[in-house]
Amino acid sequence: MTTVRETLAAARLGGRIYWRDKQALTATVLTSVGLGIGLPVLMDRLRSGDPSLVVAQLIGMLAVVLTLSAFNQSAISLTFRRDQLILKRLRAAGLSDGAVLGGELLNIMTQSVLIALVTTVAVVNLTSATAPRDPLLFTVFVVLGATVLTLLGAAWTVVIPRAEVSAPMSVPFFMIAGLGAGAFGPMGQLLPGWLTTALDLLPTAAVVRVGRATFADGTFVDDLQAAAVPLLILSVWAAIALLVISRRFRWEPRRS
């Protein structure tokens, strides 16, 4: 079996469980979609007539939603699967390590992209916000962002000792991502300059930057120019995540 086929087989198996776990799914989907749609709709009511504010709010929330549904979900799912010895079982089935992880992450990434896109479509339809001028590029960066965040979540499991602490240990990240993306309104303006610069290097910031460009006026060439640096940022984060995973990923619960 090729790696791709193995990965898809692992994804099908993981998916069979994943999409059936109604409780976990409801929690993630409701939280993400609720936040992602709720705040921009609220903003629209408060400041009706200023679609740019609504779009800014939407894009800020996308950073939060992607972090929750990709990064946090990936870190939490994988630590649980690890502690339940399911990752070990899948390796015993003869799947390559890449296929085991890839299969798990593919489901999470797909869910995350769906949540982000549903949120966007809902906000565009429910508020004065306009649709992105370049929906394709927007979608491409949502997918890239979700992928990198999912990988980073897998890398983060390296420091998570047990499944029970995986959720609390992953919480700070969506706050940071939201802060950098302007999801919490003008609070970002109070931050010191160095911190703003640092926050701009986050993977979510890369998605936000392209998101803003694809919603704003401009041409396709402008969009591509705006996308260059974000693409670089995402690539660097992906490389870091893959390096950490390949060197340090723990397949079994800690015994000591």
Partner: protein
């Protein structure tokens, strides 16, 4: 080429040496038992052979390959039943097997896999509702799904009732007759004695005895035990007494049948009865107790 070749294998967890320079060879088509108490290092050894862990020293060859570097290749022809691995508790037995068939090339049909381990009736049951022994059988079904050339079984019958255990032994014997090489670990000595042609006994990370099962046992002493008839002194008996357990006389002798005949003749001449007479050829248990005794001495 041997199915498994281990030379000077070492593995430590922190400061703790779990496996200390062990060496052994498993020939193709044989059933090899790795025996030992809990914590002896059996699972660590099997997990290294299956490529789950890296050895700290020594060399390991499985089907002529390095199990860590060539894991993908080794896995294609091996099946492994880990001592402990998770299931998806909400899938049914049938669904679990189906999912696995998706992962394993050229897998057995589901019906055949379930039949093999006697779980046909449980096909519609959720895994979380299975007993420990039934889960173990499902484990065996998954491990043998791809008809592997080499099968690792880590404590395969833990939690099984005697009938299931017997059935599992039959499955393993049958697979071996069809040419599958089996490496199994167990602390049930009877299991090893029934199944294995070759064995190695591990104790605290080292191999303390190894060889062909039949030869090793033949080289061991057998055991004759009986109640000391009243009015008889131990020194009057026509055999060398190894130990007394209460009023039970225990003799360890190379040939227990001959010793028993001598005893019966002697008792018959004197009109004595030998109550509770027990005659046993050597078992692995004797070997184990011997080893434990030597260690204390």
């Amino acid at each position: 080429m041997a199915a498994i070749q281990v030379d000077g294998l070492r593995k430590s967890y922190g400061d703790f040496e779990a496996v200390k320079e062990i060496s052994f060879t498993v020939a193709r088509g044989e059933i090899f038992a790795l025996l030992g108490r809990n914590g002896a290092g059996k699972s660590t050894t099997i997990e290294i052979l299956a490529g789950f862990q890296r050895p700290d020293g020594g060399t390991v060859r499985v089907l002529g390959l390095d199990p860590v570097k060539d894991r993908a290749k080794v896995r294609k022809s091996t099946g492994i039943m880990l001592q402990e691995a998770g299931f998806f508790p909400d899938l049914t037995v049938a669904r679990t097997v189906d999912s696995w068939r998706d992962l394993v090339p050229a897998a057995r049909p589901r019906a055949e896999a379930l039949e093999l381990v006697g779980l046909t009736e449980k096909a519609g049951t959720k895994v979380r509702q299975l007993s420990g022994g039934e889960k173990r059988r499902l484990d065996l079904a998954l491990a043998t799904l791809g008809r592997p050339d080499l099968l690792f079984l880590d404590e395969p019958t833990t939690g099984m009732d005697p009938a299931a255990r017997k059935a599992t032994w039959d499955v393993v014997t049958d697979l071996a007759e069809r040419g599958t090489t089996v490496l199994l670990t167990t602390h049930y000595l009877e299991e090893a004695q029934r199944l294995a042609t070759t064995m190695a006994i591990m104790d605290r990370g080292a191999i303390v005895a190894s060889g062909g099962m039949a030869e090793t046992l033949a080289a061991q002493t057998g055991r004759v035990a009986f109640e000391l008839p009243s009015g008889v002194e131990v020194q009057d008996l026509p055999v060398d007494v190894t130990a007394m357990e209460g009023t039970t006389v225990i003799c360890r002798v190379p040939d227990p049948d001959v010793a028993a005949q001598t005893l019966l003749g002697w008792a018959g001449e004197r009109g004595l009865r030998l109550r509770g007479l027990e005659v046993r050829t050597a078992t692995l248990e004797d070997l184990f107790l011997d080893l434990a005794g030597k260690e204390k001495a």
